[in-house]
Amino acid sequence: MLGWELPPFFAGGVGMVCYHLTKALCDHGVDVTYVMPFGPRMICSGYMKIMVADHLFPKLRFKLKEVETLIGAYTTPESYGEDYQKYLASLSSKDRSKSLYGPNVFQEAQLFARKVRLIAFNEDFDVIHAHDHWTFPAAIAAKKASGKPLIVHVHITEFDKTGGTGVNQRVYDMEREGMHAADLVIVVSNFVKQRLMNNYGVPEEKIRVVHNAAEMMDETADHDASKIKETDKIVLFIGRITLQKGPDYFVEAARKVLEKDQNVKFIMAGTGDMLPRMIERVAEIGIANKFIFPGFVSRDEVAKLNKIADVFVMPSVSEPFGLVPLEAMWQETPAIISRQSGVSEVLNHVLKVDFWDVNDIAAKTLALLHYRSLHQQIKQHGALEVRNMTWEGPAQKCMDIYKELAGNR
């Protein structure tokens, strides 16, 4: 398994999925050698991670292989450049010529691949399962070295991240190469499947849809009866504040809601390149006093926010899956989610909207805030629905896919 950082060092949804999936696979008796990229960003945490991993997984089934790299699951060519400069700056001047990492992300991905190739030579395994694109060159190398079948698992594509404009050609090429080199491609939704068929030329019969499950959340997040709640109701957005997540639609919908009901506060949690613009925008349209921007929030804070919110909104423009509403539902907060998301394929007890339809987002928000029985019903059934979405299902589907491939050999 070529995955990403595991909790508590995860960076976003992909790491979370890797963790839950791997754990469920181990529970079902699959032996997993987990190749985890780690870099100097997590200073001196190496052995700690192993300790963490040790108690998170059944020891006999799980083997952790760490590979040093500057790349993370959400690295972009630009962010890599910045990280690389920071790294260089941390070195003494004479060490700079002996950098451990590639000067750009594509070269670094090749360096990473070379290290993984060595592991592939030495380890015993039946299939290679690689998550999202920076691992794809490494996965191809491992396939060549071992002759074992390759599955690439696509959580998100360059098109989703960029909203379709400014797709990086080299990133796209890397994704495409991985998908075509793979024996089978796992995608997290039909939404992604369509994307792969339309934009990457992957034949339908090569694609398997494995929807994510809801993760187990800490149920004991205390109910923070904050001051806000005394007078106002809370509508919540959590996510990276980037084009992909549709924060601008959230703001416009908020404006519509406030036209009808002044006693509502909107929390937009997270950071991202669009945050400054969003802050400007709410000031511009005179609703700044109704908005709270807490910035980056920790796992605990996410749980707390979900707990105190009355409505959760995910207005994503393009969401391959979308785990955040599941966390809200887990905390018994009704969710409004974009139809342009993978998660909307598996959820019944939510309200669905088109991300661009700010009237509809506002109308449904108001309905949830004002129709008590609706709020109650969706809250109860939604919580039940996510509690029934365990990782057993996805793990079983992956195992079937492993068997399908291993059986062909």
Partner: protein, 439 residues
């Protein structure tokens, strides 16, 4: 002797259009004219017209030996008048043969008996008048919406002068008894109770084209044999079903029309068999026993109860809020308002809010104009909120005209019930305040 009694239900609701919170107070145009028209025209073409034509042919061919009964909701009749007068014409042709009986029901295909008996009575009388106007018949037999039935209802409609009533032959009320006899409701000794033989009815209505059914394909010979087998242990086979079975639920290519065309002849082959209308059945056969049915039952879903319409808190609160304002809507004396309100009593609106997704849920989904039951609820409640605004405005007008009005206060308290909390600037249910604020 076995008599076969066909009763077909014909109903189409006035479906609501997408009506958002931003429409409340701004427009009172609730019904999706275009969609309703489209559906009526589609079903007319696939079902009503060809099946009426077939029945007319069969009635003529069998010279008084083949007969059927219909219950057509007032809202369906109204839509035929509006969108497909040729359908109405073909029903009139059937009525003229003298072999077709029309039943009484609530004009709006409503569950009003459960909430407001006076309203129920008015809707039944409205429907009775409509049937008289259109078909020149005075119905003697009553069937309640979705065959919802209990002792109390039997007693109530006996009081309205009916002599027979229909119900589901549900296992849980019959036990070892057979639906192929006539019974007497415990609380209405002059009434006859006709029970649906759900096995034989559903063989046609639901299973006819089901290839997974071990009796598939259902031939006329086989079905005729199943019916004739009841000679000696039953008087009457009540085949009650939605009329849309023909051509709409079971498509033409399933062979349903050919089946129906050959069926009368096959059944009449047996000299002891005949066809009866519901009134004839009630006259012809004596009651064999009393039936005590305390809890409401219906013909829907596997539960045969009210849970398809009133099974969750959305449905219950929507229905309660609706019926709560019935009296004040009537007091306004505004016919357009009352007509809109009554169209909301149609049971389908509550059916759309059903969240029994599994097992029966697929049937619900098929008939649901909304993506989810939640959207059905939101739309319904938004419309209801607009109706409340109209009530208030009319009340205000009246108030300024003459007498003092006490309703303004009472409604305000009543409708705060369905909100998350009672904050002053809420728009919904208490719309005046915040709407004026926006300006």
């Amino acid at each position: 002797m076995v008599s076969v009694c066909f009763y077909f239900q014909v109903h189409q609701p006035f479906r609501l259009k997408k009506y958002s919170v931003f429409d409340i107070g701004n427009n009172s145009d609730y019904f999706d004219e275009e969609k309703n028209k489209e559906i009526i025209k589609k079903v007319a073409k696939k079902c009503y017209l060809p099946t009426n034509k077939l029945l007319l042919k069969l009635i003529k061919r069998h010279e008084g030996k083949f007969k059927v009964s219909f219950s057509i909701s007032g809202v369906a009749l109204e839509q035929f008048e509006k969108y497909a007068p040729e359908v109405l014409h073909s029903f009139r042709e059937l009525a003229k043969t003298g072999q077709v009986e029309f039943l009484s029901e609530t004009y709006h295909h409503s569950l009003s008996f459960l909430f407001d008996k006076q309203e129920f009575k008015q809707q039944v009388l409205m429907h009775k008048q409509k049937i008289k106007d259109l078909f020149d018949q005075e119905p003697k037999v009553f069937r309640n919406t979705e065959l919802v039935y209990n002792n109390e209802l039997a007693n109530f409609v006996q009081g309205m002068g009916y002599n027979a009533i229909l119900a589901e032959g549900a296992d849980h009320i019959l036990g070892w008894k057979s639906p192929n006899f006539i019974y007497t409701p415990k609380t209405a000794e002059n009434m006859k109770l006709l029970l649906k033989n759900y096995k034989l009815s559903d063989d046609v209505a639901f299973r006819f084209s089901n290839k997974g059914w071990n009796e598939h394909p259902l031939t006329v010979e086989k079905y005729g044999r199943w019916i004739s087998e009841n000679n000696g242990n039953g008087h009457l086979i009540n085949l009650f079903m939605d009329y849309e079975t023909f051509g709409e639920h079971q498509w033409e290519d399933t062979g349903i029309f050919e089946f129906m065309e050959k069926l009368p002849e096959e059944i009449l082959k047996h000299p002891d068999n005949d066809f009866v209308t519901v009134s004839e059945a009630a006259e012809k056969y004596p009651s064999v026993a009393e039936l005590d049915i305390h809890n409401f039952m219906s013909w829907a879903d596997v539960e045969r109860d009210l849970s398809a319409w009133l099974g969750n808190s959305l449905q219950n609160s929507a229905a309660q809020e609706l019926y709560k304002i019935g009296t004040i809507v009537k007091k306004t004396g505004d016919p357009a308002l009352l007509s809109d309100w009554r169209k909301l009593t149609t049971s389908d609106h509550f059916y759309y809010m059903c969240i029994k997704w599994f097992s029966d849920g697929d049937v619900h989904k098929y008939f649901n104009p909304y993506d989810t039951p939640y959207e059905g609820f939101i739309t319904f409640m938004n419309v209801l909120n607009d109706i409340i605004i109209r009530v208030r405005e009319l009340q205000k007008q009246k108030q300024s005209e003459d007498k003092k009005l006490t309703y303004a206060q009472t409604t305000q308290v009543e409708f705060s019930h369905n909100m998350i909390s009672e904050t002053p600037s809420l728009t919904l249910i208490d719309p005046e305040i915040s709407l004026s604020k926006i300006e």
